[in-house]
């Protein structure tokens, strides 16, 4: 088996170049391990070698993020590493932003695991934790001796391709990935146990932290409807019969865009719903019940609205993750905006 290779990223301070006065230096590369990389390499116990250490000034990274990332990517890529390690950054904000930003970029570009270490309040954590593994550390470099052995353990697992255990057990921050597993008790037993804990005022751990939703601010009203282009968009799964784009009947991963130029009505012979979350009989009987093209055409003829946009967009809402929905919304919104659409009738079911 070929030796596993690690490339390491640190800032000017941990690279022994200097403090704040050297924070402006651009990325530079040293072969072999330097600073904390040497410590980590020891904890790898022969299971991996640090082939290069990249040092970059914190200010340089934060002020020239794009250039810094480009240079660093070139430096890392040629080594074909199995693992990329950055930090630990403890509670150093700019250093944390760099470790997180560079780490995320390397993970995305090279598709290799990335490891870092941070204190829970480090601002670099939020943007990077979903894509890289971040060990919980103390808030200052004084805790380096505690951080490195923990990082070494995780690094060995990542090099071996082993799955990590629960974040709490591993001492890392959760990435926010919801993984389905088996429990030794059924849901009903767990529910009653949790309620008993609430009665006894004992600590309990919810199995799901509810999300916090953002609110979308309503757009300004359309000043003159008679000149406005109105588009039809729905999550009720109305689409051309035969489902040409194979949109899923639940948990959709895509949306469809279809021309309605010259069409006055969604007739039942040509359109149907593939939505799995409601009684389809009435929608299939007259798809305009979900997506009111017929009425909109009347408005267009009467001059009440300017015109109906030549495409409608459709997807299935049921079981579709909020993340996919956000992606659809952004893409559809962008296209409508580019096409000069003024308003949208958005129907759900």
């Amino acid at each position: 088996m070929a030796e596993k290779k690690v490339v390491y990223y640190i800032n000017q301070f941990f690279g022994n170049i200097g403090g704040e006065e050297k924070a402006h230096i651009p990325p530079e590369e040293t072969l072999g391990a330097k600073g904390p990389a040497m410590g980590l390499e020891g904890y790898l116990q022969g299971e991996g070698t640090v082939v290069a250490t990249i040092i970059c000034g914190d200010n340089y990274y934060n002020e020239h993020e794009k250039d810094a990332k480009k240079t660093i990517l070139e430096m890392v890529k040629k080594h074909e590493p199995d693992l990329f390690v950055a930090g630990p950054a403890f509670n150093a904000g700019r250093y944390g932003m760099a470790c997180g930003g560079v780490g995320k970029m390397i993970n995305e570009e090279l598709q290799i695991p990335v490891l870092s270490g941070m204190y829970e309040e480090n601002p670099g954590l939020e943007g990077a934790k979903a894509s890289i593994h971040i060990v919980r550390t103390g808030n200052s470099a004084a805790t380096m001796r505690k951080a490195l052995p923990k990082m070494g353990e995780i690094a060995k697992k990542l090099l071996r391709g082993e799955a990590l255990e629960e974040p709490k057990k591993e001492g890392i921050f959760p990435q926010g990935r919801r993984v389905t597993v088996f429990s030794d008790k059924n849901g009903a037993e767990r529910a009653v146990e949790m309620l008993m804990k609430r009665f006894r005022e004992e600590p309990f751990e919810t199995e799901l932290n509810v999300p916090v939703f953002d609110r979308v601010k309503a757009a300004a009203a359309i000043e003159d409807l008679s000149k406005a282009t109105i588009a039809l968009v729905c999550t009720g799964g109305i689409l051309p019969k035969g489902n040409p784009d194979r949109i899923e009947s639940a948990s959709a991963t895509k949306f469809g865009k279809y021309s309605i130029e010259g069409l006055d009505d969604f007739v039942e012979d040509a359109y149907e719903t593939v939505h799995g979350g409601y009684d389809p009989i009435y929608a299939n009987g007259d798809p305009d019940r979900i997506l009111p093209l017929d009425v909109l055409r009347d408005f267009e003829k009467e001059g009440y609205i300017g015109k109906v946009h030549e495409y409608f967009y459709t997807t299935v809402g049921t079981g579709t993750s909020v993340m996919n929905s956000q992606r659809f919304g952004v893409e559809i919104g962008k296209q409508l905006k580019e096409d000069g659409v003024d308003g949208v009738i958005l129907t759900s079911t």
């Binding site: 088996f182 529910a191 309620l195 008993m196 799901l208 194979r246 979350g277 009684d279």
Partner: protein, 428 residues
């Protein structure tokens, strides 16, 4: 109210010429069952088959699962208000064939039916891979509507369970489980120091394939209502829905409602179980507000200190779940919610479509979009191509080697939100 459940443990099931039970072996009269179900003029064809734990068998698309039973003592029969005259369930004595189940399949009514594997990785995800299943495959007559098709298939499953259950009438049960609970007034005095708990069970009620029946009444047309736990365990509630297979409450699960059983077990020891409030999941805001407010009022009026709230389905009813939670907590009633999650195939999305800061105690029964590959089975009952039309399947779900690649969405009973199964989610 006192209910004796006479459990008869089935060790094996065979097909034969008459219904019989001897030394643990249940024989099913195939022709008799077929004739019985064909009395419904909407059904054109009935096939009967078996699928047992560990066998290389896949059943698809599954509609409902029902436990074979017979009412031995009491005014009510099986499924009162549905397959028999209305009378109160939960009193007297019922005999039950434990470990056995009627599983209905046949041509697909809608998108929401499920897949059931009796072995391999799919088996672990479904509680019904562990039952001895009597498969009733139904083909409707040509020309009937989807609503008629659904009703015919639903009633056929219930009738099949009663037909097979009849054979248990004169058997000596292996065990008698007694479910007895007096009026709340009496029970509260008996256990003055224990916290009082209501189970608020949300039922999906959103139209074809998304309906539930309480004593035969479509729960869409009901207001939140209080039942004695025995009524639920004895056939008052039946499934008329095929909501995503993973979290629909099959009739079998209503009859063995895991939250009801767990609260019963702890009644008089850790808590006082005040009863089951059945509420619906409306499709209008007015309806949601009406049902959630009234359900909360019933729980409060009963004197509940805590409520377990279980959801059925996902997405739209997330808002009913959160509203129930908020209203109860605002009244000072402690809640624990049971729900599954739609976190996307990679598990990185937020899981619910609505949220309340009051929802601090949640049991998660799995991510419905978790992707699995189910290796081919030697025998397929039904039609494996149906996977492309099931919630959780998609075009390309049926792989060339006969494997199914699908989301847990499609697997029967996998993410049961009445906590019937043991799947959960951990955050990584």
């Amino acid at each position: 109210m006192k209910l004796e459940m006479g459990n008869i443990f089935v060790k094996d099931v065979v097909l034969g010429e008459e219904n019989a039970f001897e030394e643990g072996i249940l024989t099913v009269n195939v022709q008799g069952l077929r004739d019985h179900l064909l009395e419904d003029h909407r059904i054109g064809k009935v096939n009967v088959d078996l699928a047992k734990p560990g066998e290389s068998v896949r059943i698809i698309p599954v509609k409902d699962v029902i436990e074979p039973r017979v009412k031995v003592v009491g005014e009510a029969k099986e499924f009162p208000g549905v397959t028999s005259t209305m009378a109160t369930a939960g009193k007297g004595r019922s005999h039950v064939f434990k470990n056995a189940a009627v599983v209905t399949t046949g041509s697909i009514v809608g998108f929401q039916e499920g897949v059931l594997d009796m072995s391999g990785p799919g088996a672990a995800y479904s509680p019904f891979s562990k039952t001895l299943n009597i498969i009733v495959e139904l083909e409707p007559k040509k020309g009937i509507t989807q609503h008629e098709h659904e009703e015919a298939a639903r009633l056929a499953g219930l009738k099949a369970a009663a037909y097979i259950g009849e054979c248990a009438r004169n058997l000596e049960p292996d065990e008698i489980e007694t479910f007895e609970m007096n009026s709340n007034a009496v029970e509260i005095v008996k256990y003055p120091d224990l916290p009082k708990v209501v189970y608020l069970e949300m039922l999906i009620t959103q139209g074809l394939l998304h309906d539930t029946y309480i004593y035969g009444l479509d729960a869409k047309q009901t207001l939140p209502t209080l039942l004695h736990p025995n009524e639920v365990l004895d056939g008052a509630v039946v499934s008329g829905n095929c909501v995503a297979a993973c979290d629909k409450i099959t009739t079998y699960q209503h009859l063995n409602n895991s939250v009801v059983k767990e609260l019963y077990k702890r009644h008089g020891k850790d808590l006082v179980f005040l009863g089951v409030v059945l509420t619906n999941e409306n499709i209008t805001l007015q309806g949601k507000l009406r049902s959630c407010n009234m359900a909360t009022n019933i729980a409060k009026h009963l004197g509940a200190d805590g409520v377990i709230v279980s959801e059925e389905g996902y997405g739209n009813p997330d808002s009913d779940l959160m509203l129930n939670c908020k209203l109860l907590e605002e009244e000072g009633v402690k809640t624990v919610l049971i729900t599954d999650e739609c976190a996307g195939r990679d598990g990185m999305s937020q899981s619910l479509t609505d949220a309340s800061p009051y929802a601090k105690a949640i049991i998660s029964t799995g991510n419905v979009s978790h992707l699995v590959t189910l290796p081919p089975m030697e025998k397929v009952i039904g039609n494996e191509k149906a996977i492309e039309h099931l919630a959780g399947g998609y075009s390309g779900s049926l792989l060339p080697d006969g494997s199914l690649e699908c989301e847990l969405n499609a697997i029967l009973g996998c993410t049961s939100e009445i906590g019937y199964h043991n799947v959960t989610v951990k955050e990584y």
